[in-house]
Symmetry: C2
Subunit: 333 residues, 2 copies
């Protein structure tokens, strides 16, 4: 009921609607309306009340609630099953538990805060409350495990397009799927899968975006290599609106992938990439080397021409532009 009242107020934002009208429209007592309005105020909704005119929503809070995310969400699959939490261990872990219990494709888990946010390669992802977008998407495509890497490019292209559209910032993608402004990281993506040899059971795309952090909210060791959208643009963003835009763009790119395969995704990725044609330093479990990043192949591997002249297809590892800053202890950067 609180959600329904919030939706009415949001639809009438800036205009008054009387308690009596709400009470009639939703078949609920005046007392209940009053209680729910108070509860919405506690969540951060700025609602003014005037005698004989009723209630007027002045300002919506920047919270990741069901109502804030779903109001205006124009997707058919992604986020239709939406779970919002104040605090989780990791949104990827929640999705994996939901998936094992049979959750449908398109399930989205959002949290205001993660206690054990995960980055690629087992690294930590710093997930402060209320300033970022930390969420995970459950997909169940009919592909084999080796193709799951392609989905990480679907995620990167979708997020890059959505963030560019909302913020106007010239964001680019670093192989495989970090989103950068210049050399500073705005977004990281961690793709996990559960599968048989002959087919995927599910893929989880975990997406972490630095949205409204101020400089002092980043750990000192990340300040050179990380940036939030708010710091870059000079103003804050509605995280719910960003999330809606991302889910819409993601659904579009995912449908394109299912219908046309990896080719159109690869082509978009090439357009937005910050890696190809550059001299890079590559760090893998086996060691480091330098070379030129030439392209990505069908499996999502980065094709590198080493300084030695050898060519290598890289599936795992860290790539940085030669001479640029690198940190490896935490992966928001």
């Amino acid at each position: 009921m609180k959600q329904a009242i919030a939706q009415l107020l949001i639809a009438q934002k800036g205009n008054y609607i009387s308690g009596e009208e709400i009470s009639k429209l939703l078949a609920v007592s005046r007392t209940a309306v009053w209680k729910h309005i108070n509860s919405l105020k506690e969540e951060g909704y700025q609602i003014v009340a005037a005698p004989r005119r009723g209630y007027c929503l002045v300002e919506r809070p920047d919270i990741l609630s069901m109502v804030e995310i779903k109001t205006g969400l124009e997707t058919k699959i992604l986020g239709q099953n939406l779970l919002c939490f104040p605090l989780v261990d990791s949104t990827n872990e929640v999705v994996k538990r939901e998936a094992a219990a049979g959750a449908p494709e398109g399930t989205v888990v959002v949290a205001e805060q993660q206690e054990q946010g995960k980055g690629r390669l087992g690294r930590q992802w710093v997930s402060l409350p209320a300033v970022g977008l930390w969420f995970s998407v459950l997909l169940r495509p009919e592909i084999i495990p080796a193709q799951a890497a392609q989905l990480t490019f679907v995620s990167a292209v979708a997020v890059c397009r959505a963030l560019r559209a909302v913020t106007g910032l010239p964001l680019l993608i670093k192989w495989p799927n970090d989103i950068l402004l210049g050399q500073q990281k705005v977004c990281g993506i961690l793709t996990e899968l559960s599968a048989e040899i002959e087919g995927i059971d599910y893929v989880v795309a975990g997406i972490g975006i630095n949205v409204n952090q101020q400089l002092e909210e980043f750990p000192p060791e990340l300040r050179d290599t990380t940036i939030s959208l708010a710091l870059a643009a000079g103003h804050s963003f509605s995280r719910a609106e960003l999330l809606r835009k991302i889910l819409q763009e993601y659904e579009e790119q995912y449908r394109l992938y299912l219908e046309k395969g990896f080719a159109p995704i690869r082509s978009s990725w090439r357009k937005f990439n910050a890696t190809l044609g550059k001299e890079v330093l590559v760090s893998t479990r086996e060691g480091s080397f330098t070379g030129v990043a030439e392209d990505i192949n069908e499996d999502g591997c980065l094709l590198i021409k080493k300084d030695s002249g050898e060519r290598e297809a890289l599936i795992a590892g860290d790539v940085s532009l030669r001479g640029s800053l690198m940190t490896k202890s935490k992966s928001n950067s």
Copy 2:
């Protein structure tokens, strides 16, 4: 304590050991010894007692208990963490839950019965109590998801070698990893994985072996395509002994794989295979075709020269010899 007493009796099988001696050796009361002996008898141990001589183990039961499996197990990793259950949903599911909670490489889960035994491609696996070996092995190799298919060949080679050694039967492997006697299925393997794009978290190899079933214990629709080791050999087998032999062989093949890569595994697989060089009928999600199975590649794909002359690398699907029987509703066959 019951396990320790069982181990003493097993070590002295056929000889008497007095209650007083057991009591002293294990620092336990005579009454407790007597109670544990009774409990072992209930499990199926045939123990005779004689005045002034004590207890003598005449016959061990064919049960999959900790003692029966671990006594004589010569592995360093596989089965060192061993979990035995009378009944589970599926041993693969138990291993996946254990793995998510941090269980170590080599964890083995064995069950007398599975309620929801799983075959490849989402099929059912009939797992009657006390007549088969239904178990799963947890591995944590440093490989990428696409390489997980190689492990399914490690499993098949290890099981085939172990079963041949114990039974003397001329068993062969059908691509990718069914173990057959002639055209009849003895063993199926279901490999599942949990991973990031850049590396495996864990692989579960679920192995189901028809050991001591009599013909009437198979569902009628499986009787043409399935056989137990006991039916084939004309006598029953100790399932615990079979399992020990498999775990030992598995550890050896797995170590070989980690040290030398896929080449020696592929070479063993070729030696034991029942598919290469044969005219086959292939059924996939997309349809059926016929051709000749020529080889397997580095990814475990079956390389087929179709009747049309085209070549195809098959990662998923069912392969049967042309003209042989096929059933698809259940996968023990």
